[in-house]
Every structure is written in structure tokens, then in C-alpha cells.
């Protein structure tokens, strides 16, 4: 089997900015985000789909960026944690995690924030059980999850209050 040197022109929109890069097809989306365009907010834990740290949104739906090749995002829109809010203006979900202490070391947080942001769009008024289901694909080694669940429910309230 001969190794290939194939390179592909990728055009993708990340957090509203268009990027064009020439990349190898084997480059994972997670590595593209971190190494090619410098968005290191997306974390990489297990690289086989289990931990959820790398979760980002593709066309507003949560996906594992370690289980996609960057070339597959051709023409799509990606949202990473950097696209949710700014330091001065946190998104309602970010603000809720801040207030409810939904994080400790923060390693799992970007994957959870993106996932929860998408979840609250389709389920704006979740029960506690639904909130737990929503984050079932995100491992956190610090918090014990209780404050994360609190933060999800608080985020829902904040979003509703904001209309």
C-alpha cells in the first residue's frame, strides 16, 4: 500500500469567519481547529469519541470533532467555544456556568458549553433528567456533575428571561 500525499483545499466557516486551508484528508477536525487555525478552546481528551471534550457544533448540531475529518466540513459552519460569547459578554450558558460553579479545572467545559448551547435551542425548558441526558456524552473528572446540571437549568432560566 503506497502512502498518498493528497492535499485538499478546504473552505469552512468557523465562528462566522471563513477559513481556507490546504490540508491532508487525514487531519481530524479537532486538530484542524487547534493547530491550523489556533482555536485551542476545543480540548482533546480521548480521541475516540468517549470523553466529549472535543464537542463542537456543526450547522448548530453537536458533534465529536475527534471523529470527523476536517475535509468533511467543506461548506459547513462550525461553532467552537470561542464562538459562544466574549470575555466581556458571556453567552447565557457561559454566564450560568460561571454563576453556578459548573466547572473546576475547565478541561471538559468547552465540550459541555457547546453541547448545552445546542440542547437548549431544541429544549428550552428541560427537566433535571433531560439536562442529565443532554450531558451524558461529556465526562467531567472534577465537579461530580451536580453543579453542571444546576448550571444547565440556570442557563435555561436565563435564556427564557432574556426572551
Amino acid at each position: 500500500m503506497e502512502a498518498t500525499n493528497q492535499k485538499i483545499e478546504l473552505t469552512v466557516t468557523v465562528n462566522g469567519t471563513r477559513y481556507e486551508r490546504e490540508i491532508e484528508p487525514r487531519m481530524l477536525l479537532s486538530d484542524f481547529l487547534r493547530h491550523e487555525i489556533g482555536l485551542t478552546g476545543t480540548h482533546v481528551g480521548c480521541e475516540h469519541g468517549v470523553c466529549g471534550a472535543c464537542s463542537v457544533l456543526m450547522d448548530d448540531q453537536p458533534v465529536r470533532s475527534c471523529l470527523m475529518f476536517a475535509v468533511q466540513t467543506q461548506g459547513h459552519e462550525i461553532t467552537t467555544v470561542e464562538g459562544l460569547g466574549t470575555m466581556d459578554a458571556l453567552s447565557p450558558v457561559q454566564q450560568a456556568f460561571h454563576e453556578a460553579h459548573g466547572l473546576q479545572c475547565g478541561f471538559c467545559t468547552p465540550g459541555i458549553l457547546t453541547t448545552v448551547t445546542a440542547f437548549l435551542e431544541t429544549n428550552p425548558d428541560p427537566s433535571e433528567e433531560e439536562a442529565r441526558e443532554a450531558i451524558s456524552g461529556n465526562l467531567c473528572r472534577c465537579t461530580g456533575y451536580q453543579h453542571i446540571v444546576d448550571a444547565v437549568l440556570l442557563a435555561a432560566k436565563k435564556k427564557q428571561a432574556a426572551g
Binding site: R26, V63, Q72, G137
Partner: protein, 292 residues
Amino acid sequence: MKPAPFEYHAPTTLDDALSLLTEHGYDAKVLAGGQSLVPMMNFRIAQPAVLIDINNIPDLAYINAEEGGVRVGAMTRHHQSEISPIMAQHAPLIYSTMPKIAYPQVRTRGTFGGSLSHADPAAELPTLTTTLDAKFRLVSQRGERWVPASEFFLGLYTTALEPDEILAEGFVPELPPRSGWSLQEVNRRKHDFALAGVAATVTLDENDVCQNARLVFLSVGDRPMYAERASTLLQGQALTSEAIRAAAELASSEEIDPGDDIHATADFRRHLANVLCKRALEQARQRAQGQK
């Protein structure tokens, strides 16, 4: 943890995909949702020289109600099945199981056809489609053929698919009136692959006598394990707790082949299979009786 280099193709028609597959044969792999293939490539357990990405082919994702059942396109995402009212109405066993398969982010990408083609004996869809007697349409440049689930899953990660074939769609028959169904499984963590599980369907006559039963186990063999003798045993009987106990005993002692691993011993899996089988039959019977 990085995949080996490969040549990437993203055809936009099924014909193009099939011609690429014919050309590259064993060197090529189809990329559907990537939720099983990409982890294996990251670990370099799989190192395909050529990847044929079928995500850009339109019209491979649909859930359509038809005479006698539901037709499901190969690229139907798990998430679509999870929220489909058609699936809920015509294949409630599949519909109600979808939330148990992996996590939200995996269900966004993972596909019906990918799960079947991957043929993990611990996966739910191979077992459910075997239980419901589904059939699959396999297409290649040579033509097409329908293969029943009972002849599709041949062993560990092994199916009837030839290297030049793509699974294009499945047809899942609807259960007759007065039928009930159930999927029972035990996982170490909710949404993980099950340590053991079983799907059951039963159809009752007007006197609550069992006309037909089907028991298929997951994670206790190299493929979905159809317990034919236990299923047949139930036919013509009222589904009393004694009848259910006898069927569960027979199936779990003689018709499965569980293995040992770090998660569970074979004996424990056998024990789970027995208990879960009873629960599944009870629930299926109750559901069937709930119908007029």
C-alpha cells in the same frame, strides 16, 4: 492517535461511490457517520488506503412509511430515527431504543447503515433488525440484492456485504396487531455498549395465547443471537411466568455464547441474559395485551 494517510473521495452520487468501490475493492472503506470507523482509524486498528465518504450523496437519508413497514435509508442519522414520528408509529421497538444508543453528539453523526454494516455484536440495531425480521438492500455495480437480517450478520464485525457493495437501505416490517415488544439491557454506564441485552417481540391471539415470539440477544455472542428454540417454545402457550421462565432458562443456558472480558465474566453475562429475557417477555406481553 492519528489516522494513517489515505486517499479521500467524496462522491455525490451512489453510482460514483459504487464505481470507486469496485475500483479499489478491499483497499477501500466506506465512511458513513464515522463513529465506529474513525475511532478505529485513530487507533490505527483500521488503515484503509482509500476512504469513500458517502455523506455528500443526497437521498440516502429517509424514513418512509410503506405498506407493511418502514423503509430506512442507510444515511439516516441515529438522531433522525430518535425523533421520527414515523419510526415511533411503525417501528416503536427501534424508536424507543434510539436514545439508548451512545450519546447525543454520536447520534448526530452515526447512521442506520453504518451501525448495521459495522456489525458490532454489542450494538442495538443489528439485534433489533434481526428481531423484527428486517431485510437490507445491498447494491453494487453488479446489481442489487435483498438480504434478510438473519443472513446478513455472519460474525464479529462480519456481514454478507461484499467489498464492492454498499448497504443502501433497510426495510423493517411492522408487527401485527396485538403484538408487544421490549429491549432490555444492562450497561456499566448509561448509553455505553451493553454488557448483555435482549430484544423480544410477541404476538398474541384473542385468548392471549402466544402466536409468535422472537428473542434475540446482544453482547453475548459474535453476532445477534437469535434464540430459535426458546422462541418456538413459547408458541401456542399462554405467557405465564412459568412459560417465560422456561424460555429464558433455555435461551440463556443453551442458545447464547457469551465471552469473558474485563467488564464481565461469561457466567455473569449468562445470568444477566436470563434475568433480562424474563423482563423483556413480561414487558412485551403487557404491551401486547394493552392493544385491542
